[in-house]
């Protein structure tokens, strides 16, 4: 028992500046060669647990810690962080927050340099790590020029070079396209098979189940609700909270009442089939530097009634493409027309009243002392009347489920809540078109499904466009799917036409999901794509 890589006994922690304990009385152990999946909603205490094991708590994050963590039988209470970091490697959710080196080779060598290893040993270990992850070709690349998937592998290589026995992965798939996520998971399986103990914190439970984790821990409100075999999870957890394989949801949802029908874009419903182009891209080409084009001749119309999902691999040009719609980027060739007006001759602020744009990262926009003031900022800039602004703020708060946080400072909220504030800030502007860049990244399943449902039913929007890596989100919510790769529009059509072509999906680093497969199987009966709980009540 004492030789187990990790034993956690009665562990509790309360952050110094927060009310209530973040985790309560956690007790478990992890074995060599085991993958332990840790699942749970945002704020359930997963990240706090990771910080306790890797030593950042209590060394960097102060608070009240009790209980015991033992690594190979030794209590780590008095260990230095350097000792722990040689046994426990940590890969964070966002590789951008972890990578320090400007070149890949420097990044991978960083931990070894800090341990004062001889240079020859560093070179050997760096090369081994890069070879193991099949990325030796990246060795001399600049880290900032890597794609999201490559960055995650480089961050992992930097940790593996220190040869830890325990690997903590804190939502490592969050910013990856489906194919990169699959590759990362395959690598995790390989590491476990070689004897490493892996604690994998992840929202995307369905994706992780593919690599057959040995056990699953389900956490809620800082407590462990379940620890055991994977099979037990499906019957225990609420399928509205955790995304489970579609077949499991289908089986369970039959016993529950049918979900309410979503009335998408009620403002344009029943207006007939006549198309009205709200945004037009005409032969749009763009490059950040002379001679290096990243968008090539894009032609596209966003029409009234469109709910468009934009899919594509990391670094495909999706964000560059949508930034043209609000005039933050101006085409080098061709033009973009928003409501008939060329973006070259309109300011971003002018376009903002027509088209609301939700940025990927909330931390770049939150500034106000309260959530209410944050939400009022946009509509006030657009000169909406004071009474109207109040109503708009209330409605937006309702949609993102933050009414109880109205008077809180946005910057003191959790990342998931900040993301919802950033979405609400744009919703409050009541623009006609809504554009969202990865709205669900960093959100737990239940929250993002709820706000996506609400946003689609908002009475103001005439068209919605969102960038996502989540194929299911595109299948369920969109009535039109675009695939962008290498700055080009690869596909543009109905979800069925676009997503049924598995070869095309594969070529663009997308991976079919169990829900997509289920929908395609029953498409002749349903005539559209539905979420699993809705399919359960269809006469299949």
């Amino acid at each position: 028992m004492t030789n187990l890589p990790l034993i956690v006994e009665d562990l509790s922690f309360k952050y110094r500046d927060r009310a209530g304990a973040a985790i309560h009385n956690l007790t478990f152990e992890a074995h060599a060669g085991e993958i332990l999946l840790i699942a749970g909603a945002s704020g359930c205490g997963k990240t706090t647990l990771v910080r306790c094991i890797n030593g950042l708590i209590p060394r960097s994050y102060k608070g009240e810690l009790s209980g015991k963590i033992s690594i190979f039988g030794e209590d780590v209470k008095d260990w230095k962080l350097s000792q722990i970091s040689q046994k426990v490697g940590t890969v964070l959710q966002d590789p951008d927050r972890q990578i320090l080196g400007t070149k890949v080779v420097n990044e991978v060598a960083f931990g070894l340099e800090n341990l004062g290893m001889p240079r020859t040993e560093i070179v050997t270990r760096v090369n081994e790590s890069l070879e193991f992850l099949k990325i030796p070709q990246l060795r001399n690349r600049d880290t900032f020029s890597l794609s999201g998937g490559e960055k995650q592998k480089v961050a992992l290589a930097g940790v593996l070079a220190m040869r830890p026995s325990i690997l903590l992965l804190d939502e490592p798939l969050a910013s990856l396209d489906p194919a990169s996520a699959q590759e990362a998971l395959d690598m995790v399986r390989l590491l476990a098979d070689q004897g490493m103990t892996i604690l994998l914190v992840e929202h995307r439970v369905e994706d992780v189940l593919r690599i057959k984790p040995d056990r699953v821990m389900f956490m809620s409100e800082g407590q462990m609700r379940y620890l055991g075999a994977v099979q037990g999870l499906s019957s225990l957890v609420n399928y509205h909270q955790v995304k489970l394989p579609a077949e499991d949801v289908l089986a369970r949802a039959k016993r529950d009442p049918a979900p309410a029908e979503i009335k998408v874009l009620p403002r344009v419903a029943g207006l007939g089939a006549e198309k009205e182009a709200l945004v037009k891209f005409q032969d749009v080409a763009f490059g950040y530097e002379a001679g290096r084009e990243v968008l090539h001749g894009v032609n596209l119309e966003i029409n009234r009634g469109d709910v468009i999902a934009v899919l594509g691999p990391n670094g495909a040009g999706k964000t560059t493409f949508v930034k043209h719609a609000i005039g933050l980027l101006k085409p080098k060739a061709g033009k973009v027309l928003v409501d008939g007006r060329d973006t070259h001759s309109a300011s971003v602020a002018e376009i903002a009243s027509m088209l609301g744009y939700v940025f990927q990262s909330p931390s770049h926009m939150l500034f106000a002392p309260t959530v209410r003031e944050e939400l009022a900022f946009g509509p006030t800039n657009l000169k909406h009347a004071k009474e109207q602004v109040e109503l708009e703020v209330k409605e937006a708060l309702n949609i993102v489920n933050l009414t109880d946080k109205e008077n809180d400072p946005p910057l003191a909220l959790s990342f998931g809540q900040q993301k919802r504030v950033s979405i609400a800030a744009i919703l409050a502007m009541q623009s006609r078109i809504l554009v969202m860049d990865e709205p669900t990244a960093g959100q737990d399943y239940q929250n993002y499904m709820n706000f996506m449902d609400s946003i689609l039913q908002m009475p103001t929007f005439e068209a919605i466009l969102f960038i996502t890596h989540d194929v299911d989100l595109a299948a369920i919510y969109a009535n039109r799917v675009l695939i962008v790769n290498d700055g080009r529009l690869i596909a543009d059509g109905s979800p069925h036409d676009t997503l049924a072509d598995f070869e095309k999906l594969k070529a663009n680093r997308l991976v079919p999901t169990s829900l997509l497969a289920l929908n395609l199987k029953h498409f002749a009966t349903t005539g559209r794509f539905l979420r699993a709980e809705a399919l359960a009540h269809f006469n299949l």
Binding site: N54, L56, R59, S60, K80, L81, S82, S85, Q86, T90, L92, D96, R97, Q98, I99, L100, G101, T102, N106, A109, F110, L112, E113, N114, L115, G116, M117, P118, R119, I122, D142, T143, F144, K151, V159, M162, A290, K323, I326, L328, S347, V348, A349, A352, S353, F359, S361, S363, H364, M365, L366, F367, A368, F377, G378, N381, L382, L411, I426, M429
Partner: protein
Amino acid sequence: MLAAWRYRKRENSLIQSFDPRAWIIFFVCFLISVLSFWDVRFLLPFLTIAFFAVFTSRVTWVEMRRAFLFIVSFVLFYAFLTFLTGRGGMEVYAQERTLREFTAGFSIFGWTPTLKITVERIFFAASQLVRISSIALMTILIPYSLNPALYGITFKRLGLSDKFAYAMDLTMRFIPTFGRDFQLTMDAQRARGYELEKLQGGLIGQVRKLGPIVVPVVIHAIMGSEDIIDAMDLRAFGVAPRTWFDELTYQKRDRVLMALGALILIVSLGLAMMGYGKFWTP
């Protein structure tokens, strides 16, 4: 993630053919030497060296255009301001020989705007222009030419401790990171109808209205620093004397450059101590 300056390896670049330590030492010698003089005749050779460094650096005009134009307009603005007001020059000259004098035909609260064109003002503005331009041109080359991967080892081998050397490395990369975050915040707020150019109200009111830009940028910088500290802690930074992966070795040309820098510095300081190179007019 920390952003990087627009560095790239350039074929036949003179500055890049030297060890970064040698170039930094030469740069510091050059800087102190320039600051030793006010005589435009003594300063012109330094401007020539600076232009030589720029033209042999292989940094293209397109690459440095924005930074160059910003600095040129900044230098011209201040030199012109000094010329108009005569301020600053009074420390290096005591008397002025007036060439022309223009007096406005109106007064504001008893003050009549007057423009005096004097020999001293003209030469002081010219000296200032040459001085700042020499320094600016040499400085502008550094981010384009020094490999960011070598910042840390450069400062370490110049004698700084591990922690200071790495702190210098992070600081040099913080500047472009700050610029990138500023741009992202500007974009995010413009998308919410915010227009920086339409700020109204008094001075305090205008500063308050900068909040939507300043607060996220500052908070992001703080959060970014915390991430960096966590990432460093998790990989045992500062626990033992560090091995620096990259290695630097001086070549003969580096020694020649450092000797040249030292010679320029000694001669400049010597001349300055002997009273040469003070403000001069014909």
